[in-house]
């Protein structure tokens, strides 16, 4: 098995996700970046599962997928809400609350 290659890929994706979270101007893209991070997690899980010959990894990955979908759904709803109120989906504009 080429576990290391998978892990490296996963790490790369995770890093990309983090980068995206930080730099993207559009909240939807931020959400996409988070998805990227979750994909990295899934790759990890599947790779480990395969290496260990353990189905639990795949099961875990399925759970992650399912829940991530729900999470993103909620996220998009909130973004939509904000867009309605602010006519903007730029996270920068979300700065009313300030101590």
């Amino acid at each position: 098995m080429m576990l290391n290659q998978f892990l490296l890929l996963s790490a790369f994706l995770f890093g990309t996700g983090i980068y995206g979270v930080i730099t993207r101007k559009h909240t939807v893209l931020v959400l996409a970046s988070i998805e990227l991070m979750l994909v990295a997690v899934n790759i990890n899980l599947v790779a480990f599962g395969a290496t260990l010959n353990n189905a639990v990894g795949q099961v875990f990955a399925l759970f992650v997928l399912a829940i991530a979908a729900a999470e993103v759904g909620v996220g998009l709803a909130i973004v939509l809400l904000i867009y309605r109120n602010l006519r903007s989906a730029n996270p920068d504009d979300v700065n009313v609350l300030k101590g």
Partner: protein, 501 residues
């Protein structure tokens, strides 16, 4: 490995999961009722929801009197005293939250049915969390807790502050989930297990591995977000301020407790045998949370924000026993471990009662003053002495002043860290001690406003509605009873902590 799952007896002890079943049923009923009830009767959903919670609570009580039940679903779902105590706690906290919400939600421009639906979903996640003994279950439970609260936080749809709080909360939550999962994936990769007991058995035997360290660290980091430990607490004040106040109460108590329970599970059941990987992180986190939380709270003029920072600090206090556990595990002291778990649980229970009470008072007062500023509490004593006394009791309890329950929470916290001992332990104890004094200052600041300052011009007394009054009564009762008879919570926590053996 897959065989382990398939070969497991599919027999499910439905009684054991009856609280969850009851909740799910209630969720359904609420949804349906919301659809069929006319607008003006929508408040009935709150009644349904609260009945459902109480039924669920009753089931918890029933199970508590049964013989011990073996872990189910391949060991990933435990129905033991620990789980039952926490389930009970979550359900009561939710019940009180519902009481808090009834008038607030009914009077505001909110969708009522959905509100209770979301609340119940979240508490369902909590009850599952209490039993979760598996990384997957834990993750699912955590998300079940979190996702509805993202929506709840933004429940004041037309309020930009609420929107803003929700998006912050959501993004931080989502990122932290991802980080946590990344960590979990590494732990799974190294141990080949998702079951916490199995992980615990293996983790001690693993060679020191940087990957393992990273895995443990990242998963703890995820929880640090959930429990808003410094330095991952920034979202909390904004979100708390933005969210509807009952939701804030729920977030600061139940949701936070969910995070702590998740952390308890993973730390005590999973990582216990590798304390060197994490105790220092938690030690630092605890010290920072207490100190920065308290110092920031000193500056607040808005009471909700103040309580937000206060809850960050209280979270810090709750982290102390974790550090104590870590320190003690280094010397392998089982009694300390139990004491630490007991103290976390006691703290959670007490914190729940007093913080919900404080929010109940705030809601009651804000109904009249329409303000969250501390100055709006001025002279409250002169026209509304009862609510003032109650608020004072909750604040005093938060400050840890006997004879209110808070002292016992603080006490067990001190006890755990002093029992762990050593230079690190005592130092953290002293830090906590000093912090409890700082905390007293800002709590008393509110007290001072209420008692010593002249009243504002309109000195109409604060009206307390029935539901609010009931929630206040529950909280005051608990705070006072536990204050003078701490065994009430102490014994529960002790029983719960017995699961550590």
């Amino acid at each position: 490995m897959f065989a382990a799952l398939t070969s497991a007896n599919p027999h499910v002890d439905f009684l054991a999961i009856s609280p969850e079943i009851a909740l799910i049923a209630t969720v359904m009923v609420v949804l349906i009722a919301d659809m069929i009830l006319p607008e003006r009767s929508a408040w009935q959903t709150s009644r349904i929801a609260s009945i459902g919670v109480l039924v669920s609570l009753a089931w918890v009580a029933v199970i508590a009197f049964r013989d011990p039940i073996a872990p189910m679903f391949g060991g990933s779902y435990a129905i033991d005293d620990y789980a039952l105590v926490l389930k009970g706690f979550f359900l009561v906290a939710t019940y009180v939250t519902i009481l808090l919400s009834v008038d607030y939600i009914a009077e505001g421009d909110y969708y009522q049915g959905e509100f209770y639906f979301l609340l119940l979903c979240s508490v369902l996640g909590m009850t599952v969390m209490a039993s979760a003994r598996d990384l997957i279950t834990l993750f699912v439970a955590l998300e079940t807790i979190s996702i509805p609260t993202y929506v709840l936080a933004g429940y004041r749809k037309h309020d930009r502050r609420s929107n803003e709080g929700a998006i912050k909360y959501y993004l931080i939550g989502a990122i932290s989930s991802a980080v946590m999962l990344y960590g979990m994936s590494m732990i799974f990769g190294l141990t080949g297990e998702t079951n916490l007991a199995a992980i615990s058995a293996k983790i001690g035997t693993l060679p020191d591995s940087k990957v393992l360290a990273l895995g443990v660290f990242l998963s703890l980091l995820g929880f640090a977000f959930k429990v808003s430990a410094v330095p991952f607490h920034w979202w909390a004040p904004d979100t708390y301020e933005g969210a509807p106040t009952p939701v804030t109460a729920f977030l600061s108590v139940a949701s936070k407790a969910g995070g702590f329970v998740a952390m308890l599970n993973i730390v005590f059941f999973g990582f216990g045998l590798q304390p060197s990987l994490w105790w220092l992180i938690i030690w630092v986190g605890a010290a920072l949370s207490m100190t920065l939380g308290n110092l920031s709270a000193l500056r607040q003029t808005n009471i909700v924000r103040m309580l937000a920072y206060s809850s960050v600090a209280q979270g810090g206090f709750m982290l102390v026993p974790f550090a104590a556990f870590g320190l003690a595990q280094s010397h392998g002291d089982a009694a300390v471990a139990r004491g630490a778990m007991r103290s976390v649980i006691v703290y959670l229970l007490v914190y729940g009662a007093m913080n919900l009470g404080a929010f109940a008072c705030i809601i009651a007062v804000a109904r009249r003053t329409q303000s969250g500023e501390i100055s709006s509490f001025s002279g409250l004593f002169q026209h509304s002495p009862v609510i003032t006394v109650m608020m004072t009791i909750f604040l005093a309890s938060l400050a840890g002043i006997p004879p209110f329950a808070g002292w016992f929470a603080k006490f067990t916290m001190f006890q755990s860290i002093i029992e762990a001992g050593g230079g690190w332990g005592v130092t953290l104890g002293v830090v906590a001690g000093v912090n409890s004094v700082i905390a007293a200052y800002y709590y008393l600041n509110v007290v001072r406003s209420m008692w010593f300052r002249p009243a504002a011009d309109d000195a109409r007394p604060v009206q307390v509605t029935g539901a609010l009054g009931a929630s206040l009564a529950v909280c005051v009762g608990l705070v006072m009873v536990v204050g003078v008879y701490p065994s009430f919570f102490g014994d529960m926590a002790e029983a719960a902590a017995k699961v550590l053996g």
